[in-house]
Symmetry: C2
Subunit: 325 residues, 2 copies
């Protein structure tokens, strides 16, 4: 059964136990060079190495494996053009149930291929939120599948919280934990884990300046929808949800807005210095450290590298190179 | 003192002990997806995570720390436009001696910056082998520095051999060990370690088809110079040396020639599936597995990922993407 209220400590523990057979316990790595550059002590939680390439596998697995046999008989469904789509398809395949994924017809070929690889049944729709929701609604009626929302779902939130549990087990309590924020599943889950399992860590959200709905929501006290967001961090363009927003308001210290320049710089530094692939959305947290050095100076800070699914045919570095010359 | 003859088992052991404080013991990682794709059991030795971004730090550290105080008083020198340049500059900095690096004036800005970062003293020259050798010769006369050749040096070869020692300690003996071959430092060192420390592993070299001087040398029994080599794998364009070639002839089973298409495909797969950055030269070994599946089918095979220093402003993936459409 899916959780019906804000995850409690036991729910996060249970989630971790439930999903452990199906996910990687990802490494936490450090970089002397980036520590020197940013004048603080950084720990990078590598969810880019997670199954299906992103932390989304945690939430999707927790939701799918929380369903009892009757509930799951009709399969699961969602609309997503991103990492949740493949994470959910993979979780359903592992559970032996069907998954129905509504994707905009403009979704990148690699993402479509990944969902198909995990035997997800794709329904294409026009690339608007209205079309996605309408198509999903019809699908749910036709199939009897259960909707697993990418973030506005307490079982998903509990799943995303497990990354932070692993961090504390591995390195103790940091001063700051920085997670990117799009719909808020990772940030709300992380902030709950911090509240329950750390005695002094502050949770910070990191968001592109060009998609700063979470910042505006956080400071106005009500959900401000993301309208015409523009950022290379394409996983962070969504609005907060009714279940993530209240958790974030209560447990997050601040939302930091990060410029496109700092996002690309952060991505470049991590690729060049740490030799690992992260997607633009995953670079925003380290971008916040670059943009607000005064906050992080001399601190012990955890950066959640949320995913590593990039389109290699469409990278931002060529332009940088030109600017250098 | 630098080694004056082919490294013996004890020399490789000593080298490992000598360099351990200065290098990373790099991880050996696996990928279920790439195992399925290539129908064998692959282990990737991640020298892309090595200090200064490549296995070259092993050989450079072993050479520099083998010198006694008198020998090293004048510093060390080399000509290199690649990973050896920064590895040597770093090793010298750690030892507290000077390093003189001859670089072609066309060397990539990032490589020049890396050498400067390690306080190497750069002398620029025209981008020809003759100019590089002449400039280095003059430098050696002026400075009393000791030349540390990138590969034609037994202490360097012994240093490169240490990666294979670590592999055996970690995963036992594979059926095959595949290393890229340019000048042959890594391949000769690896093949010696295999001969001394494994009872059944076969060592294979992997080389771009467009720079197949090692293949031609191996099969003709004499060093065939690399003339007008063309490959994206820019670390593998050099010719074998008088000290690497005899070791390779005696201890390597075969040199496999790899097409540019398979090199780029291998690089793409490792970036996309393993989420780690490797340079084109490091992709050639896995490219060999893709190109010669009949050799590797069902085997336990180690791939040495030799380095991770790429120019992000100049990547081969845009073209691939276009071809996919």
């Amino acid at each position: 059964m899916l959780l019906e209220s804000i995850p409690q400590p036991v729910d996060i523990y249970e989630a971790h136990k439930r999903i452990s057979p199906y996910i990687h316990r990802t490494p936490v790595i450090t970089s002397k060079t980036l520590d020197e550059l940013s004048q603080c002590n950084l720990f990078f939680k590598c969810e880019n190495f997670q199954k299906a390439g992103a932390f989304k596998s945690r939430g999707a697995c927790n939701a799918v494996f929380s369903l009892d046999d009757d509930e799951s008989a009709g399969g699961v469904a969602t609309h997503s053009s991103g990492n949740h789509a493949q994470a959910l398809a993979r979780a359903a395949l592992l559970r032996g149930i069907k998954s129905y994924i509504v994707m905009p017809r403009t979704a990148p070929i690699v993402k479509i291929a990944a969902v198909k690889h995990y035997q997800g049944k794709i329904t294409f729709c026009e690339p608007t939120l209205a079309a996605r929701e309408e198509t999903l609604k019809n699908l749910l009626q036709q199939t009897n599948a259960i909707e697993i929302h990418p973030y506005n779902n307490y079982s998903v939130i509990a799943g995303q919280a497990t990354a932070t549990m692993e961090i504390f087990e591995e390195i103790g309590w940091p001063d700051f934990l920085v997670a990117p924020v799009g719909g808020g599943g990772l940030l709300s889950g992380s902030s709950l884990a911090v509240r329950y399992f750390s005695n002094h860590t502050k949770t910070l959200g990191a968001e592109p300046e060009g998609a700063d709905d979470a910042y505006l929501s956080f400071h106005s006290g009500m959900i401000v929808p993301s309208i015409h967001p523009v950022s290379i961090a394409d996983g962070l363009l969504t609005s907060l949800g009714s279940r993530t927003f209240p958790v974030i308001i209560e447990n997050v210290t601040e939302i930091l807005r990060v410029s496109e320049e700092k996002i690309v710089k952060a991505m470049q530094l991590i690729w060049e210095r740490m030799k690992i692939i992260i997607e633009p959305s995953a670079a925003v947290s380290f971008g916040a450290v670059l943009q607000y050095p005064e906050i992080f100076h001399s601190s012990k800070t955890v950066i959640i590298l949320s995913g590593g699914n990039v389109d290699l045919g469409c990278l931002p570095f060529a332009a940088i190179k030109e600017n250098m010359r």
